[in-house]
């Protein structure tokens, strides 16, 4: 795959005009991570709605087009989903959003930074709000 394909219209559009970019006034989850290689930074904030769903989500950060576009695309995909959905999220889902998996080992970390931040935040929240009923396998 050529770089012209990697940096196709969609990624550039999300890099220059990121969706869900910014901060929430009220939020229940906040997470942040960096990729020291690129200096990429991504923060996410989530407001949890009824039935443990992702009611509102915003991201902020700076870095390369791949890291910022994939984080932005992920927030669009995540909005409205149950928190538990995050557990099943895999790198293939991110590649599907970006339209490529052919990034090379050093750039894959850029692509997956947003997912790492989302999982860090949601797992932390789920752990902190873990209730006995959650442990019941019959439920």
């Amino acid at each position: 795959m050529s770089s012209a394909d990697i940096y196709r219209e969609l990624i550039l559009e999300y890099y220059r005009n990121p969706r869900n970019f910014g901060k929430l006034d009220r939020f229940d989850i906040e997470a942040h991570d960096t990729n020291p290689l690129c200096g990429d930074e991504v923060s996410m904030q989530i407001r949890v709605g009824a039935g443990n769903t992702i009611e509102e989500i915003r991201f902020s950060g700076k870095g390369c087009a791949i890291s910022q576009a994939s984080a932005s695309m992920l927030t669009e995909l995540a909005k409205g989903k149950p928190l538990g959905w995050v557990k099943g999220l895999s790198k293939e889902d991110i590649f599907k959003l970006l339209g490529t998996s052919d990034l090379g080992p050093s750039r894959i970390k850029c692509a997956l930074l947003g997912m790492k931040v989302l999982k860090t935040g949601v797992y932390g929240y789920l752990g902190a709000h873990f209730e006995d009923s959650d442990a019941d396998p019959t439920r």
């Binding site: 050529s2 770089s3 012209a4 990697i6 940096y7 550039l12 220059r16 290689l37 690129c38 200096g39 700076k62 870095g63 390369c64 087009a65 791949i66 090379g104 750039r107 850029c110």
Partner: protein, 412 residues
């Protein structure tokens, strides 16, 4: 060959086998020599010769191989020392510049720096000339202050003077910035620092590979450089230190080789520089570095320097014409080394490096181990093209074409 003749780049390139390889089907355009340089076949051959004909430990072997290895290792020290105007007794082989600054931090700093002392470094340093002094300041309760920069990216000498009034114990400065390319007047800095009673250490990682260096003329107490950036192998470099000072310092690491006598309750130290070379030394790579020194000496360092100034002038003229191109550091190519840091519009350096890689062009992108400088420049990262003896105008033209392609993809 006369020193006034220009470097014959085609002839030089023939000595670097790696330059014939293809990257992604394209001619390799290697513009990352400030990170590590390529190696001529003469250096590779020196390693092969050592391992295949006289591999042996040095200094205490009385057999033939041991004597040959010792002679070659010490000859490499002699040639490397002469190359920078030092005496071999003053040259300690280390892993590289980072180990050299850390050696000074422990062997000199732990001995001579006290609570409340002032250490001075600058905003344009590589992390290897910042972090050891932070650690030293922390362990001793000393203070670390920075000499700032002018708009052009040169040292703020007024700030240096005001810090010197506080009688610092150490002034640490780079000879040539690995980001801005700025060549500092280290002779002046060291002379001023010496008058103020400070010890001086100069980071020569980006200067020794590219220009004539004479540590005696610079007048520093310590001078550090890496072999792998000067056509030599990785894992070898040098710390040059004033002999009286090296003799007063504590050892760096304890073990074999660095001792004279060992008793149950104490030991005495070997002579300098061996006092600082504990354990089996990096024999092969030191010999390889000696071969790199021979190679560069054969080319002539003035000629190497002239070549890079010409390339830099051409690169700055060519690339400055590109839309959205912004470079950092002094505008006069004759006052800078062979590194050119830049950004192209709003394209992140890592995206740029990915696009250029597709064209076979290797550049560096990121913070270049100089995060305080990145903050001063107010950028998250930069791209950096850096030159060495094997680079040509063609390489600059390829870079320009690659940047134009990146501009098209990103619709700059």
């Amino acid at each position: 060959m006369l020193e006034t003749e220009a470097l014959d780049v085609e002839q030089v390139r023939a000595d670097f086998p790696i330059l014939t390889r293809k990257v992604r089907g394209k001619r390799l355009v290697y513009l990352d020599s400030a990170a590590t340089s390529q190696k001529p076949k003469q250096v590779v051959q020196a390693l092969v010769d050592y391992y295949s004909t006289y591999n042996s430990n040095v200094h205490r072997s009385v057999h033939t191989l041991g004597e040959e290895a010792t002679a070659a290792y010490e000859a490499a020290r002699e040639r490397t020392a002469r190359f920078v105007g030092a005496s071999p007794k003053e040259l300690v082989f280390v892993r590289g510049t980072t180990e050299a600054t850390n050696l000074v931090r422990f062997a000199w700093g732990e001995r001579f720096v006290e609570k409340g002392d002032l250490l001075v470094t600058t905003l344009m340093e590589h992390h290897s000339n910042i972090v050891p002094w932070q650690l030293l300041a922390r362990s001793k309760g000393a203070r670390l202050e920075y000499v700032g920069l002018t708009e052009e990216g040169t040292l703020d000498l007024a700030k240096l003077e005001s810090l010197l009034k506080e009688s610092p114990k150490l002034v640490a400065v780079t000879h040539c910035s690995n980001v801005l390319g700025t060549i500092n007047d280290v002779e002046k800095v060291c002379s001023r620092a010496k008058s103020a009673g400070a010890a001086t250490i100069v980071d020569g990682a980006q200067s020794v590979p590219h220009m004539p260096v004479d540590v005696a003329r610079i007048g520093c107490d310590f001078y550090a450089f890496s072999g792998h950036k000067m056509l030599g192998p990785t894992g070898i470099g040098a710390l040059v230190g004033r002999k009286e000072l090296l003799e007063k310092m504590d050892p760096f690491q304890g073990g074999g080789e660095m001792i004279k006598e060992v008793f149950l309750d104490h030991s005495t130290w070997n002579e300098v520089p061996h006092k600082f070379e504990a354990g089996t030394v990096n024999i092969a790579d030191a010999i390889g570095l000696g071969a790199a020194v021979d190679y560069l000496t054969g080319l002539g360092m003035s000629k190497v320097r002239d070549h890079e100034v010409k390339l830099m002038r051409y690169a700055m003229e060519t690339l400055n014409a590109l839309k959205g191109f912004r470079s950092y550091g002094p505008s006069d190519p004759s006052t800078r080394g062979g590194v050119l840091s830049f950004n192209l519009a709003d394209i992140h350096p890592h995206d740029l490096a990915t696009i250029l890689d597709e064209e076979g062009i290797a550049i560096r992108s990121g913070h270049h181990c100089a995060q305080p400088l990145m903050r001063w420049l107010d950028v998250a990262a930069t791209s950096r093209a850096s030159f060495h003896v094997y680079n040509s105008y063609d390489d600059v033209d390829s870079l320009k074409a690659g940047l134009e392609k990146a501009g098209e993809i990103f619709k700059v």
